[in-house]
């Protein structure tokens, strides 16, 4: 379970997150939508402590952290409970696909080599890239790289996988294979928070859609409500714009 209470993030005088309260159940698939620059990515990055939140408390699993008092150890354990999938894949350029997935098991979880690589191979097979085990990121397509990125997040065995616009950098031809893998994970009830502009994914896969604007949660609910019966004028406006170019 994930619980955010009054989470806020300021960059200097700019308020990017303005008191986010959010509870996500284990196995829930949450899709976050909203205009650009409204703090969607920042929210995910704060949960993974890639950004230091300004105030609030976060609970992930059995760990609760007051972000103002977060020690180095708190930050490390919070990161280890939350896995991140980056928009630009961010695979380790000096490591093969297999090593990218095994890295966390080896270094962070101190698994023995054999066991870590065996697990990494299982994940590679699961994401359909078994034959790419020894390929380096530079020689893989964007779609393959992002699937490895997801595989790396899966290896973490994290409470939640945070997806930060996972298909936004992809050529259109690779989007489906990445979304397909995410749907597969969703069907296994992996807890996920997904920031995306893929509205059809949100409609088909999400248990809950959250609309964020101006650093606040404006409206949330099951996709049927948010997409077909939005209440807030800002949600209506946003959906009208985005559905015009990105129909569900």
């Amino acid at each position: 379970m994930i619980k955010l209470e009054s989470l806020s993030k300021h960059f200097g005088k700019t308020v990017v997150l303005n008191g986010i309260d959010l509870t996500i159940e284990k196995g829930e698939i949450v899709v976050i939508i909203g205009p650009s620059g409204t703090g969607k990515s920042t929210l995910l990055r704060c949960i993974n402590f890639l950004e230091q939140p300004t105030a609030g408390t976060m609970t992930v699993g059995d760990l609760t952290v007051d972000v103002k008092k977060a020690s180095r150890a708190d930050i490390l354990s919070m990161r280890r409970r939350t896995a991140f999938v980056f928009q630009n894949y961010a695979l380790f350029a000096n490591k093969t696909a297999l090593q990218n997935i095994a890295e966390r098991l080896l270094v962070v979880d101190n698994w023995p080599k054999e066991k870590a690589y065996q697990r990494a191979r299982e994940i590679l097979d699961q994401i359909g890239l078994g034959e790419k085990a020894d390929a380096y990121p530079a020689s893989m397509s964007g779609g393959q790289q992002q699937r490895v990125g997801i595989g790396r997040a899966m290896a973490a065995g994290a409470e939640v996988i945070l997806f930060d616009e996972p298909t936004s950098s992809l050529d259109p031809e690779w989007v489906e294979e990445v979304l397909g893998l995410m749907k597969q994970l969703a069907s296994e009830r992996q807890t996920m928070m997904v920031v995306t502009h893929e509205m059809s994914f949100a409609r088909d896969v999400a248990d809950r859609v959250i609309f964020i604007d101006g650093g606040r949660i404006v409206e949330q609910g099951p996709p049927s409500e948010i997409f077909y019966n939005p209440q807030d004028p800002r949600t209506k406006d946003f959906l009208k714009k985005i559905l015009a170019t990105n129909p569900v």
């Binding site: 402590f49 890639l50 280890r80 991140f84 980056f86 695979l91 350029a93 270094v107 962070v108 380096y136």
Partner: protein, 224 residues
């Protein structure tokens, strides 16, 4: 002018080659120590570790800002005068100390630049999976920075091999010192020094080949 005494030159080759191992040892040990020191300096600079960062800046500034020969004399003649226990420093030790510190100052800056040049997404990904800063540096950043820094570092190594010749001013009989002695005995200065020059040249050429090979190896991961 007499013609070159080729016979003397050929005879000199095996004599001088006996001193090549010492030259290579000076450079080899100096390079390893300088690399370690330079990596530490670079990490201190990149992570801006308080106090150490300022000390490192001064250290680098001093050893880049003064001639190597002056530094060698400082270590060999100067330090024992200040601290009598340091009279145990012989020419070889002083040379290694000087080469290490002098070149670590230069190398620290190129390693730092290479580290800073590693894409931010790489460090974020490392942190996101829960690595500590140290793990991130060792496993992700430094290996990638190595590839970028390698050509410059090899240049410094080549430079260092040639700089070992300054050791003869501290009475160390390495390749240059030996040549000097041979030449002083035979008065065939041109012959002696051209043989020494050619030996240095061949060593450096071999290293360039090694550099080329290493670059191909390190680039393997980055080619399509």
């Amino acid at each position: 002018m007499d013609v070159l005494n080729v016979e003397y030159m050929l005879g000199l080759v095996p004599v001088l080659l006996r001193y090549l191992p010492l030259t290579l040892q000076l450079a080899g040990i100096g390079m390893v120590l300088a690399l370690i020191l330079a990596c530490l300096f670079a990490v201190v600079r990149v992570l801006r570790i308080p106090v150490l960062n300022q000390l490192t800046i001064v250290f680098i500034s001093f050893f880049r800002g003064t001639p190597l020969l002056v530094q060698l004399f400082l270590f060999y003649y100067g330090l024992p005068q200040l601290v009598s226990a340091l009279t145990v420093i012989d020419g070889i030790t002083a040379t290694i100390m000087g080469l290490t510190m002098h070149f670590s100052a230069y190398m620290a800056e190129s390693i730092r630049a290479a580290i800073v040049g590693v894409d931010r997404s790489q460090t974020e990904a490392a942190l996101s999976i829960g690595m500590t800063n140290g793990q991130m540096m060792r496993r992700i950043v430094l290996p990638q920075a190595t590839r970028v820094a390698l050509p410059t570092l090899m240049n410094y190594f080549i430079d260092m091999i040639k700089a070992t010749s300054l050791a003869f001013t501290l009475g160390v009989t390495e390749l240059m010192g030996a040549t000097q002695k041979e030449a002083a005995g035979s008065f065939l200065y041109f012959e002696a020094f051209i043989v020494a020059a050619i030996i240095y040249w061949i060593v450096v050429e071999l290293l360039s080949k090694l550099q080329h090979y290493l670059e191909i190896r390190l680039n393997k991961a980055y080619s399509r």
